[in-house]
């Protein structure tokens, strides 16, 4: 493969960012929108060509004896720290990066198109498209990174694009603080990522993924058994690197930024905070998978964090009022699902397990299907917000009659996420659960429960929006379906969510490139399907028609409900630690110390010099008698000293 297409894929969005960012003020909204959409459309086409070539051309660079290879299209030196430790910028093609190219450009293009309708009335429309392009550039750079440092570079860039887009409505204080929170929380996580890279690269002397993952046992050997506080340094490095992933992918306890990030425009939430950027953590673990496999502790850590987060987020999602927040918590929960799936996978054969790498394949599969149906759900939510001018489901209800396109597409999204056959979520979730059951029954059972919760809260949302009781305000302001720019992405993504499950994913993406034939595990499928159907029926019973069951349920255990509604007070805890302790005590006392101790000491010297000069000032009195006195005293002193020295 030549380097032209890959370079174009990366440069086109960057060029669009510069063009729209610098020249945007001179453009009309229409020009900017059309340019943005055309740019992203071209980028998408090119990515499809590249991905198609990679998967299906059968070129010896890409596939050898049926095993897919990693292929560095180019890799140029960017910065040489030392002779060995060199940062390159490159383009790595392998199953997961090719898959991500497709996911990112597809969703990004749909969001570009959708935004044309959604953001039409907003000022700063050109800026919006510029930021979208910047985000697409950064995200593409992240997934094609040939080395972990390049990933870190683009990791930071997606962070800042996310900051800019969350704070797009910068006149609203809530948007400003949400964007700040998102940036700082992820920055904190990135500190861990950075230290992890420092440790890892110190021992391996390379940043390159292919070198590291190609021979993970050598990586382990290079650490020479060094340990720190009882754990091997490699474990520390991998856990710290995963911390970065926890930040971006909103795992507990660093999840607090994602619900607030919903302050951004809804299409942005669909692109960044549902489909692409937030799965960067999953992608990172997948990228380093073979190295993770040699440190069992890190893998267990990933699974545990994922399992706790998945359950927590699912519980919270059952109580939220803001539809975007429900979707945000659902995203957290689903990403945690993928994390657990990766955490239970291994790159070696486990006795009694039919295919130990299944979790990896399933996690990636779910990443793909989730991106599609979650983007669909967010864009659907955007259409609802566009029609009702509110984020709360309390302002909705009975909308199925008014907004048929949104209704049907949203329903497809809900069915997909709930894992109902034959929608895409069923297949990927089934594979994930199968992988978890094969690792340990506990993971499987726990996550099946989470899957049930997922079906419940999604259908709670669905029924409350589209059934329940009509909002009387519709009489004044009749909601209607969105314009075509917004409907096309909905329909397209709904169609993808219907058929994506039938993609022979195992043939395309596995941890080592060797193909694997997906087959449904009947027992697992039956269990999860039953759980999901029961959950949906329960939701229907509670929320389809207006009744008082929800209130009764709430009153069964009001303390639990309130705690879940307040997200178990995580925000308050963080608020306390950051504002009261770090800001209020540490920073203030340091600033005080600086002014009143260090600086006061310096001023004290000046004061002392001043005082001293004032006190000896009297000697220069202009009085001859005084001078004679000083003269004699001085002479006497000299004589004494001389005499003392002589004897």
């Amino acid at each position: 493969m030549g380097v032209t297409l890959p370079i174009l894929i990366l440069c086109l969005p960057l060029f669009m960012f510069l063009l729209l960012g610098i020249g945007g003020v001179k453009m009309t909204k229409k020009t900017a929108g059309v340019l943005g959409i055309l740019g992203m459309g071209t980028c998408m086409t090119l990515s499809y060509i590249v991905a198609f070539t990679y998967f299906f051309s059968g070129d010896a660079a890409f596939i050898v004896d049926g095993v897919r290879q990693q292929f560095q299209v180019f890799d140029v030196t960017w910065l040489a720290f030392t002779q060995k430790l060199v940062v390159n910028l490159g383009f790595l093609l392998d199953p997961i990066s090719a898959m991500m190219l497709v996911v990112i450009t597809t969703i990004s293009f749909m969001v570009h198109l959708y935004s044309w309708g959604y953001m039409e009335g907003e000022s700063g429309f050109q800026r919006y498209y510029a930021f979208l392009s910047l985000f697409s550039f950064s995200m593409l750079g992240l997934v094609v990174a040939t080395n972990i440092f390049q990933m870190y570079i683009f990791w930071e860039l997606v962070g800042v694009s996310s900051y800019l887009l969350i704070g797009f409505f910068y006149k609203l204080p809530s948007a400003v603080s949400a964007s700040k929170k998102a940036f700082i929380v992820t920055r904190f996580a990135d500190l861990g990522f950075l230290i992890g890279i420092l440790i890892l690269s110190y021992y391996t002397n390379t940043f390159n993924f292919v070198e590291m993952t190609g021979n993970p046992f050598q990586v382990l050997a290079q650490t020479h058994g060094a340990t720190f506080m009882g754990a091997s340094v490699l474990t520390w490095a991998m856990v710290l690197i995963f911390t970065g992933g926890m930040g971006k992918s909103a795992m507990m306890p660093l999840h607090i930024w994602l619900p607030d990030a919903m302050e951004g425009p809804t299409p942005v939430s669909a692109l960044i905070h549902a489909a692409t950027m937030v799965v960067a953590g999953v992608y990172l673990v997948a990228r380093m998978f073979p190295v993770y496999c040699v440190v069992e502790t890190a893998m267990t850590f990933i699974s545990v964090v994922g399992a706790i987060t998945a359950f927590y987020a699912a519980v919270v999602a059952c109580t939220q009022v803001d539809i975007k927040r429900v979707l945000a918590f659902s995203t957290i929960s689903q990403i945690a699902f993928m994390m657990v799936s990766l955490g239970v996978a291994r790159d070696y054969n486990i006795p009694g397990v039919h295919y130990s790498g299944l979790g990896y394949m399933a996690g990636m599969f779910h990443l793909f299907t989730h991106a599609m149906f979650k983007a669909l759900l967010f864009l659907g939510a955007g259409a609802l917000i566009h029609a009702v001018h509110s984020n709360d489901y309390t302002k909705m209800g009975g909308l199925r009659k008014y907004m048929p396109v949104t209704h049907w597409t949203f329903l497809i999204g809900c069915l997909a996420i709930a894992g109902i056959f034959p929608f895409s979520g069923f297949f990927s979730k089934d594979e994930m659960l199968a992988a978890m059951f094969s690792s340990h029954w506990f993971w499987g059972a726990w996550m099946t429960m989470v899957a049930g919760l997922t079906a419940f809260y999604m259908f709670r949302l669905y029924f409350l929006i589209f059934w329940w009781e009509e909002n009387p305000d519709y009489a004044h302001h009749k909601p209607h379906d969105a314009p075509w720019q917004m409907s096309i992405p909905l329909i397209f993504l709904a169609a993808v969510s219907c058929v994506a499950g039938f993609i022979p994913f195992g043939k395309l993406v596995t941890w080592n490139g060797a193909p694997y034939t997906i087959h449904i595990e009947p027992a697992v499928a039956a269990t999860s399907l039953t759980v999901a159907v029961v959950a949906i029926l329960l939701a229907a019973k509670m929320y389809m028609k207006k009744n008082d069951i929800p209130t009764k349920v709430k009153n069964l255990c009001p303390g639990l409900w309130t705690a879940a509604y307040h997200r178990f007070y995580w925000d308050e805890i963080y608020q306390f630690v950051t504002h009261k302790i770090i800001f209020g005590i540490i920073c203030r006392s340091i600033a005080w110390f600086d002014r009143h101790v260090i600086d006061a000491t310096m001023d004290g010297f000046a004061w002392l010099a001043n005082k001293a000069s004032w006190s000896i000032r009297g000697m220069q009195s202009g009085n001859v008698q005084a001078y004679v006195l000083w003269y004699f005293l001085g002479a006497l002193a000299i004589i004494c000293v001389t005499w003392l020295c002589l004897i």
Binding site: L172, P173, R187, Y202, A591
Partner: protein
């Protein structure tokens, strides 16, 4: 003598001063013409020197210093006007030229007494350029003092707020530093010829003879490092920086934070570390502790300040602490990072101070609590401020990231626990920096407009745009294409690293 290109870095500012002498305070156009022509000439000269230098290096010239020349001017003490540049000094000259150029445009409307302002400004530049071209310690010190004295008048007369107090404090503290420095330099001079013969001030000669008696090195190292460290805002000698910067006029803040503070870092490795390598190996840990404190302490202090300039001054303490911290790691990568950080911080702080000056010129306040939503009113300045902020918090693609990463990865090469702990503390500054930068950006630029009167304010004028665009292009240039600079710096560190390693054996 005049055939040596380096001499012209001193001559041009002197010519500019002569030209300004012919102008009157009322002839603003003539003053501006002199300044623009002069600073453009300096910038062109610096760029030419840079290109020429890289060309020579590419052609395989491996001398430690290029364009060397030496002319005696005080025989009894063997003092020469000795000049010469390596990659680092070339880049420092380029940095100074860029900032002098941008500073000229940033003080386009200086008032009152524009002629006198620019006269002192040129004298300051003479000192700065002279310092970077010198390889004779005494001449270097002389230029250093030449750069310091005009600060007093520039702040004391054209400053704002408690300007007399701040000008006095800054000058006295830096003079205190120079006193230490002078002692150190004299010590180096007297011990520069242990086998008899005439002592020398020339840095290269001293280094090549590796002459300083090890028993004296520790004492002299402390003197010189502290002397330069005061200028580099090392904890606990940094308190001149917040007050001084807060009261200084825009262009002076730019030049001072952008270039003058770099004199400190430059002197630290060129004299203290290079000439006293045994002591550097032995005593680095003390100063690593102090600079490590600077980094963390400056960043935390910046978090609660409310005056824009104070925030920046404390941020400078943190970032300049990073420079000295990196230099003290005594390995090539980290030291290269230190120099990159000097360049990066110079450009970025100059941009910050320029923007703060421009905002202050409009709103007449620097208190972030009294401002808000400026992005809507002056989008150009707002965007520039954000870019400066992103450079400061280490966004890839801008210079700060490259510098910080080189420092972290270089420093991590020292495998013992002491260094590791301090490196991790230094890394934590990336989070704190993000906190205070985003706090300012959020309060100052975003959110609702705080003061109705601000709605009438106008966006940047052409000269302000020129000043900021120059700096932003440089910041982005380093951030996107760092490797040529990195290589030039790394190459220049070879003799210094050799000296350190030889002394360790």
């Amino acid at each position: 003598m005049f055939a040596n290109i380096l001499i012209w870095f001193v001559i041009i500012p002197i010519l500019m001063m002569a030209g300004l002498g012919l102008c009157s305070n009322k002839g603003m156009d003539a003053i501006r013409t002199v300044m623009v022509v002069g600073s453009t000439a300096l910038l062109a000269l610096a760029i030419w020197l840079c290109v020429d230098f890289l060309g020579l290096r590419a052609a395989g010239v491996t001398d430690e210093m290029l364009h060397t020349g030496s002319w005696i001017w005080y025989a009894p003490l063997n003092i020469h006007l000795a000049v010469g540049v390596d990659g680092i000094s070339v880049l420092m000259l380029l940095l100074s030229a860029i900032i002098v150029f941008a500073g000229t445009f940033a003080s386009w409307k200086i008032n009152p007494l524009p002629k006198n302002f620019f006269l002192w400004y040129c004298l300051l530049s003479t000192g700065v350029f002279g310092f970077f071209i010198s390889i004779d310690m005494f001449t270097m010190f002389m230029f250093y003092e030449v750069a310091l004295i005009p600060m007093y008048l520039l702040i004391g007369f054209w400053g704002t707020g408690r300007k007399e107090y701040s000008a006095m404090k800054l000058t006295l503290m830096l003079m205190g530093g120079s006193a230490f420095l002078m002692l150190g330099l004299l010590g180096i001079y007297w011990h520069s010829a242990p086998q008899g013969g005439e002592p020398t001030w020339n840095i290269l000669e001293i280094a090549h003879n590796s002459a300083i008696d090890p028993s004296w090195q520790n004492l002299l190292f402390c003197f010189t490092f502290v002397g330069f460290g005061v200028l580099g805002a090392m904890f606990p000698f940094h308190t001149w920086s917040p007050d001084g910067h807060a009261c200084a006029p825009t262009a002076v803040s730019m030049l001072h934070a952008g270039v003058l503070m770099k004199l400190g870092g430059y002197g630290c490795f060129r004299i203290a570390i290079y000439l006293l390598p045994a002591a550097a190996n032995e005593l680095a840990w003390i100063f690593i502790i102090l600079t490590g404190i600077s980094i963390v302490y400056g960043a935390f202090s910046a978090c609660v300040q409310t005056d824009l300039k104070y925030i920046n001054a404390y941020s400078s303490v943190s970032h300049c602490g990073m420079v000295l911290f990196a230099l003290l790691m005594l390995n090539q990568t980290a030291m290269t990072g230190g120099i990159l950080q000097m360049l990066s911080h110079g450009l970025m702080t100059a941009l910050f101070f320029a923007l703060i000056g421009m905002i202050y010129g409009r709103t007449h306040t620097r208190d972030i609590r009294q401002m808000g939503g400026l992005m809507r009113i002056m989008p150009y300045l707002g965007v520039c401020y954000m870019i400066a902020g992103f450079a400061s918090l280490g966004l890839p693609g801008l210079s700060g990231f490259v510098a910080e990463m080189t420092i972290f990865f270089g420093s991590f090469q020292d495998a013992d626990t002491f260094h590791r702990i301090f490196v991790i503390c230094a890394c934590s500054a990336i989070v704190t920096t993000a906190v205070y930068i985003l706090r300012v950006v959020g309060k100052l630029l975003l959110g609702p407009v705080q003061d109705e009167h601000h709605l009438q304010l106008t966006d940047a004028t052409w000269w302000e745009r020129l000043a900021t665009v120059t700096l932003i292009l440089c910041i982005a240039g380093i951030g996107c294409f760092p490797n040529w600079i990195n290589e030039a710096i790394q190459h220049s560190f070879v003799p210094i690293i050799n000296a350190i390693q030889n002394s360790a054996v």
